[in-house]
């Protein structure tokens, strides 16, 4: 075991605060500090440019003020300084597909609210009405280096509901939500929505899955036209124009048609992916392919339409028929074809603490390290329309970053600290935080006194 010495400057906490943090984990502050923060000494992967050895990041009011090599930028003298010499610093990871908080821990029925099983079309549902910000999954994701997530309903419905673009901090969903965002629209095809067939209900075939989607978007087109006509009439001064009846589901689908909401589409098999593409073309909406187990088989089709893919990377094919052609070279093939690729956890399918590992497996399969780093950061950010806010370390962007103990894709590398908008949300040195990284957070108090030099705490 490599013993990693800790040289980071400790936070100045009073004893009471420190004791509380040790018991409950790093606080979930959602309000950026006014004090300027300087992180120096790390090898920085800004993603927007080449890596910087011995770099410096300056943060003010939750935003990045400057990033550069030591000596090239000047930090204010009254700043709080974090020494990250010998460490690696990268942007906070963006998870484009997560169910944390909407599938709790453990994911037993009482904690699971991902799939409204009463019918296959649910565009009116909002993930924000089911996400539990106190779920362990949020802290586990921080332990994995994730700072931004798209938390979604499940894949049991053709139209599953409205997703939420959030920062992984805060005590309420309102504190988590990224201001100005309305989330995406979750859709699914292939095997999962066909489960209604077991109850002798539609859909029981892929044909009906597609027909349901087309029917709803046709209704949404008509609904939009009615409202457009009404708004035009009002604008023209009509006094007797009657407002159409509001429909919460169709309203959300109109946002899709208007390009305000991206369809985040669960789909595995190549023919299912092409069905997604066909319907998106018909209704002219923006779509991101999620999972995309066989996307590598239609890489050229996706590349020429500029449709991005966010992959869920698992260790082996199967477990379900539509994932039988899972291929460790998928990310590399898509990258080579010019498809924009992100890597997601689909937590609880993959645990959020393993997202760097997933990207490492993509590198194992031939993806470039640079491509894999982009797949964890800016590419995902762009798939959520958040590319101007997160995903790289650039002046003006949110100060979301991760400090690693070593190379991003090393099996021995640990996430040491995770920061969101200039506030630390995870610190591996904090015993309570550590247990979200290793597991055992519910029984931390019973944890034995093992040698911290070789296990756990040292890293």
């Amino acid at each position: 075991m490599l013993a990693v010495s800790i040289v980071l400057q400790p936070l100045t906490l009073n004893a009471q605060e420190a004791a509380l943090n040790a018991a409950t984990g790093t606080p979930r502050i959602a309000r950026p500090s006014d004090q300027v923060l300087v992180v120096r000494g790390a090898k920085i992967y800004p993603i927007s440019g080449p890596p910087i050895e011995n770099g410096v990041v300056i943060v003010r009011a939750g935003k990045i003020e400057a990033v550069g090599a030591a000596g090239s930028i000047t930090a204010p003298t009254d700043a709080r300084v974090i020494d990250a010499t010998g460490k690696v610093l990268m942007p906070g990871i963006v998870d484009t597909h997560s169910h944390i908080g909407i599938i709790g821990n453990p994911p037993v029925a009482a904690n699971v609210d991902a799939n409204e099983g009463s019918g296959p079309v649910q565009p009116q549902l909002r993930a924000i009405d089911a996400i539990n910000p106190s779920a362990a999954g949020v802290r586990i994701a921080n332990a994995g280096g994730i700072t931004t997530a798209n938390i979604m309903p499940g894949s049991g419905n053709v139209i599953g509901g409205q997703t939420a673009y959030v920062k992984l901090r805060g005590q309420t969903i309102e504190e988590m939500l990224i201001p100005g965002t309305i989330g995406g629209m979750k859709m699914a095809n292939g095997e999962n929505p066909k489960h209604y067939g077991r109850r002798d209900q539609a859909p029981m075939t892929r044909m009906e899955v597609a027909a349901l989607a087309r029917r709803e978007y046709t209704k949404a087109q008509e609904y939009k036209r009615k409202w457009d006509d009404y708004n035009k009439a009002v604008a023209a001064g009509s006094k007797d124009a009657k407002a159409p009846e509001r429909d919460l589901g169709l309203e959300a689908l109109v946002q899709v048609l208007d390009g305000k909401r991206i369809v985040q589409h669960h789909t595995h098999r190549a023919d299912d992916i092409m069905t997604v593409v066909r319907i998106a073309d018909e209704f002219h909406y923006r779509v991101v392919i999620h999972h995309g187990s066989e996307a590598y088989l239609v890489a050229e089709e996706l590349a020429k339409r500029h449709i991005p893919v966010t992959l869920t990377i698992v260790d082996s094919p199967g477990g379900k028929l539509e994932a039988m052609n899972v291929n460790e070279h998928a990310a590399a093939i898509l990258e080579k074809a010019g498809v924009k690729v992100a890597i997601n956890t689909d937590d609880d399918i993959n645990s959020s603490r393993f997202i760097l590992r997933e990207a490492a497996l993509a590198v194992r399969g031939g993806m470039s390290e640079q491509g894999a780093l982009r797949a964890l950061t800016i590419n995902g950010a762009e798939m959520l329309d958040l590319g101007d806010r997160v995903g790289t370390l650039e002046k003006g962007k949110d100060a979301d970053f991760v400090i690693l103990s070593g190379p991003p894709f090393g099996v021995y590398t640990k996430v040491l600290e995770t920061w969101i908008e200039g506030e630390k949300v995870f610190d591996r040195r904090n015993p309570a935080d550590l247990r979200y990284a290793t597991g055992g957070y519910d029984v931390a108090g019973r944890y034995p006194k093992f040698d911290a030099a070789t296990v756990g705490g040292a890293q």
Partner: protein, 421 residues
């Protein structure tokens, strides 16, 4: 993806077929960093000589005698051992047609054998072979309190030709498997059948063991009788015979347990019936290392990459293997079973997680080779690279546990089973 031309395919088949013939005879594996596991020097340049399926010699340096086909790699280790999995009796598809690991018809199925469900042609076995796993203990699933008989098998790779399940078996019957915790009571509870509580699960196991004790005595008495009257000969009972294997200590008793108190139950039952106890899963084992250490039980730990979908697995720790090993408990690693979109089929990755979470490189390597072999009682054949042992060798282009390294070739019983294209 570009499809290779037919000519190309034919050419490679010819080359591989011929190389396979040669490789089946005499192979020299030359390593920049050789990990024999058991010899003094580890991670030094070295050579493994293979003939007729066995390792004939191991020496340091890089000299190869004449007449050997040479294979070279940066890292070389023994074939990896998955100490408990359902691979081979469960298939990759996860549909009823390829799932034969759980006989859910009654809670005591001691007479069922993994051997009789094991499909050597299962693609999952070929898949894990390409990640260096050459030996597995295939065990019945987690539903039944008395689940049946595990078996230890070699794996076949994409290039392996022909062995039957009987030829692959290292130990056709390697352990009797018992299950505690949520699974038995949840499955049978839903059908309003016993067990619906942990109490009943333990009671079913104790009853089975008591009946087997009585059965053994009946036979002992009859065997000891002078006349051996055929009319008084006890009738055979395959379930009780199987449980007797564990009672006599012919095979270990594997108790699958997650929660700490279920681990305690396993120890309590094993002590009552003087079983050779191996714990599997051992999820909360890190909370009571001293209890496990004192029981003398070995621990098959894992899998860490599996979804933590039950209450009894929700305290799983990535450091479990490290903490148990540090307490002096014999630790091997296992992949078990995950149904929907599994992540835990590749022992190499489980070993990587263990290596990175306190067990370290050498600890993880031992846990997936010699320590597993010793716990499973097969160290005379596998688990290290020594003259006389089976020639199960894995070649890598970097640190085996680094996610970005690759297995470049796998040799099982002296034959090439996989080669990276």
């Amino acid at each position: 993806m570009t499809r290779p031309s037919l000519r190309c395919v034919l050419l490679s088949v010819v080359v591989l077929a011929s190389s396979h013939t040669v490789l089946a005879q005499k192979i020299a594996v030359v390593a920049d960093k050789l990990y024999t596991i058991t010899s003094e020097a580890q991670g030094q340049p070295g050579v493994i000589l293979i003939e007729n399926g066995k390792i004939t010699a191991v020496h340091m340096g890089s000299n190869v005698p004449a007449g050997y086909t040479v294979m070279h790699a940066v890292y070389v280790t023994p074939g990896l051992i998955d100490a408990k999995t359902t691979a081979g009796i469960s298939g990759a598809y996860n549909i009823p047609a390829d799932q034969d690991q759980d006989e859910q018809s009654e809670p005591n199925t001691a007479d069922v054998r993994a051997l009789d469900s094991f499909n050597p042609r299962e693609m999952l076995l070929e898949y894990i072979n390409t990640y260096g796993i050459t030996t597995i203990q295939a065990a019945p699933g987690i539903t039944n309190p008395i689940a049946g008989q595990a078996g230890i098998f070699k794996t076949v790779g994409p290039k392996t030709v022909g062995p039957t399940v009987d030829q692959l078996a290292v130990k056709p019957v390697s352990a009797i498997v018992f299950n505690l915790g949520e699974s038995p009571k949840e499955f049978y509870g839903k059908k309003d059948k016993a067990p619906t509580t942990r109490m009943m699960t333990a009671a079913i196991i104790r009853e089975g063991l008591l009946n087997a004790q009585a059965y053994q005595k009946k036979w002992a008495d009859w065997n000891a009788s002078e006349k051996k009257d055929p009319t008084k000969q006890p009738s055979r009972d395959l379930k009780l015979e199987a449980i007797s294997l564990a009672l006599r200590g012919d095979v270990p008793a594997i108790f699958n347990a997650y929660r700490a108190d279920d681990i305690d139950t396993a120890i309590r039952l094993a002590q009552e019936f003087k079983l050779k106890l191996i714990l599997s899963s051992v999820t909360e084992g890190y909370l009571e290392t001293q209890v496990i250490k004192q029981s003398g039980a070995a621990a098959l730990v894992g899998p860490t990459l599996q979804r933590l979908e039950s209450i009894e697995t929700s305290n799983a720790s990535l450091e479990d293997a490290a903490i148990l090993a540090q307490a002096g408990i014999a630790v091997a690693l296992m992949t078990g079973f995950e149904n929907y979109v599994p992540k835990n089929r590749v022992l190499l990755f489980e070993a990587g997680v263990a290596a990175g979470n306190g067990l370290g490189f050498e600890g993880a390597l031992r846990a997936s080779t010699i320590d597993a072999a010793e716990i499973l009682g097969i160290a005379d054949r596998v688990g290290s690279l020594e003259a006389g042992k089976d020639a199960d060798v894995v070649l890598y282009d970097g640190d085996p546990f680094e996610y970005t390294s690759h297995v470049t070739a796998v040799v099982v019983n002296g034959k090439l089973s996989y080669q990276r294209e």
